[in-house]
């Protein structure tokens, strides 16, 4: 019983652990050149050195700041526009087909244009992140509002709800599961966009740190940078899940056994 429990908890870690051991031993026996991939221990040491010098924290701060600012910008605009097209027919007619058309352009294809418009400074990075984040939030907000149960709206209206109260009590909560799906997608895209933006040109941030390390053949620092992106991406996803759990407690899919 207890053994089975431990096995179940430990088993998912077995494969990563084995890869790590294989990696370390390959590096030690010289089968794996440190220019291709440094040994895991070296990566840990590099990370530690970066933490001690304060570079790591400073760069993470800059990158996270960019990501969140871009997310706030693109997500905010996407949410507001999604609300507008979802709630008001004239806005839908005027805007939706245009937005759907632009959506088909891969955001990364806009990079040359963005560099021409905004240079290689902070603005271009923010706009790129915002652009990537905008569409999932917009599409899911619009779709969420569109798919709110018409019967519930009719019921609420017949019970005297209208205007803001109708929006707050019925339409927004009904659209929320879909909006949060968009937010989760957007969190993922946020980091992709940021990595690309920082790799192209940056004077600070994780991307700058890794590109700089590449010039000096510091493979260990490059790996640290890659792992940092993975970690931050995971954190963003966990944050999105936490928001879902907190706001969708009413949803049968999120109800735990403790409540029954």
């Amino acid at each position: 019983m207890k053994l089975a429990f431990i096995a179940r908890r430990a088993l998912p870690w077995l494969v990563p652990l084995m890869i790590l051991i294989a990696w370390e031993s390959a590096a030690r026996t010289g089968g794996l050149s440190s220019r291709v991939l440094p040994e895991p221990l070296a990566v840990v040491k590099a990370a530690w050195a970066l933490i001690e010098s304060g570079d790591l924290w400073a760069n993470v701060k800059v990158s996270a700041g960019r990501a969140l600012a871009g997310f706030a910008m693109g997500g905010g605009i996407g949410f507001v526009l999604g609300l507008a097209t979802g709630l008001f027919k004239p806005a839908e007619i005027a805007l939706d087909s245009t937005v759907q058309m632009i959506r088909n352009i891969p955001a990364l294809a806009m990079i040359p244009l963005l560099i021409l418009w905004f240079g290689i400074g902070e603005e271009a990075k923010l706009v790129l992140v915002a652009l990537g984040v905008f569409f999932p939030v917009y599409v899911n907000t619009y779709h969420g509002i569109r798919s709110v149960d018409r019967d519930l709206i009719e019921m609420a209206r017949s019970y005297g709800l209208s205007g803001f109260a109708l929006y707050r009590d019925v339409i927004l909560p009904g659209a929320l599961p879909s909006i949060l799906v968009g937010v989760r997608f957007a969190f993922g895209l946020m980091w992709v966009m940021l990595i690309v933006a920082e790799t192209i040109s940056a004077q600070s941030g994780i991307g700058y740190m890794t590109m700089n390390a590449r010039e000096f053949l510091q493979t260990d620092v490059v790996v640290v940078g890659i792992l940092l992106y993975a970690l931050l991406g995971k954190l963003a996803d966990m944050a999105a899940r936490a928001i879902e759990r907190a706001t969708l407690r009413w949803h049968p899919a999120y109800q735990t056994k403790a409540q029954s």
Binding site: D151, L152, E154, M155, A156, R157, S158, Y159, G160, L161, D169, V170, P173, G174, L176, R249, W250, H251, P252, Q255, Q259, S260
Partner: protein, 265 residues
């Protein structure tokens, strides 16, 4: 969209209505329809319908599916507007507008609100205790914090009933509210509706395709077929009614045969 629209659309009749508000020939009419017509494009769903509903009475409307009975209820509720004719809602003497609440076939509870908050929809915050009391009336006081997804179908309809009653409506419209329930829950709910109708002195209008339900609850049975009233009969049975009471089965049989008539011709 809402109840006020109809009144503002027919200001002339509002004036007439104030005179008519006093019992006319001993009859106090809560809702009256004269030549009411509802068309969806080419299709006529209700065809010049005349119907008066006496205040305090329980009227059952029966008919096959698609006969227009639910449409009629939606017109009276003000959810849809008639394409022709006059629909009048006469307020009780104490107020200036007839308070109408509707109960649908599905409970239509907001899944993201707890049971008590669902009852509170459209109610000012300080009426919380009244909402609790009404929830107790339908026997769900101890479930006030639960999510609707935790309730059974019958319990959900009881919450919907409490939600309608807490507004102290004059007229309660029931659009096949028991249609989706199992037979036992149904009988239970019929008893509950009858009791609350009596205690709250409501005017009730029940749309159903179940003739037995219509006979056991209604003071009067109105049969609608193809948008017209084809039968309008009083139910002279004493309450509370049981299915074995003398006259019950005969009346049920009589109404049922009329409902089925169209199918045989």
């Amino acid at each position: 969209m809402n109840l006020i629209d109809i009144d503002t659309l027919t200001p002339a009749f509002r004036r007439v209505e104030t005179h008519a508000r006093a019992p006319l020939g001993g009859r106090d009419i809560a809702v009256s329809l004269r030549g009411v017509e509802k068309r969806f494009g080419e299709r006529t769903v209700l065809d010049r319908l005349d119907l008066s509903i006496e205040r305090g009475s329980f009227v059952s409307i029966v008919g096959r599916s698609g006969c227009g009975k639910s449409t009629l209820l939606r017109l009276i509720a003000g959810l849809d507007q008639p394409t022709g004719g006059i629909l009048q809602r006469n307020a009780a003497a104490r107020s200036d507008e007839l308070q109408v609440r509707i109960m649908f076939q599905d409970a239509r509870l907001l899944p993201w609100k707890g049971v008590l908050d669902n009852v509170m929809i459209g109610l000012p915050r300080d009426k919380r205790d009244e909402a609790r009391a009404t929830l107790a009336e339908v026997g769900l006081a101890e479930r006030e914090k639960d999510w609707p997804s935790r309730l059974s179908g019958g319990q959900r309809q009881r919450v919907a009933l409490a939600r309608a009653l807490v507004h102290r409506p004059d007229l309660l419209l029931l659009d096949e509210p028991l249609g989706a329930l199992d037979a036992l829950t149904r009988i239970e709910m019929q008893g509950l509706i009858e009791r609350l109708w009596r205690e709250h002195r409501l005017t009730a209008l029940l749309v159903t395709h179940d003739v037995q339900e219509a006979v056991s609850l209604g003071d009067r049975i109105v049969l609608i077929d193809a948008g017209r009233i084809t039968l309008d009969t009083d139910v002279p049975l004493p309450r509370p009614r049981t299915r074995t009471a003398p006259g019950f089965a005969e009346l049920e049989e009589q109404v049922l045969s009329r409902v089925l008539q169209r199918g045989s011709t």
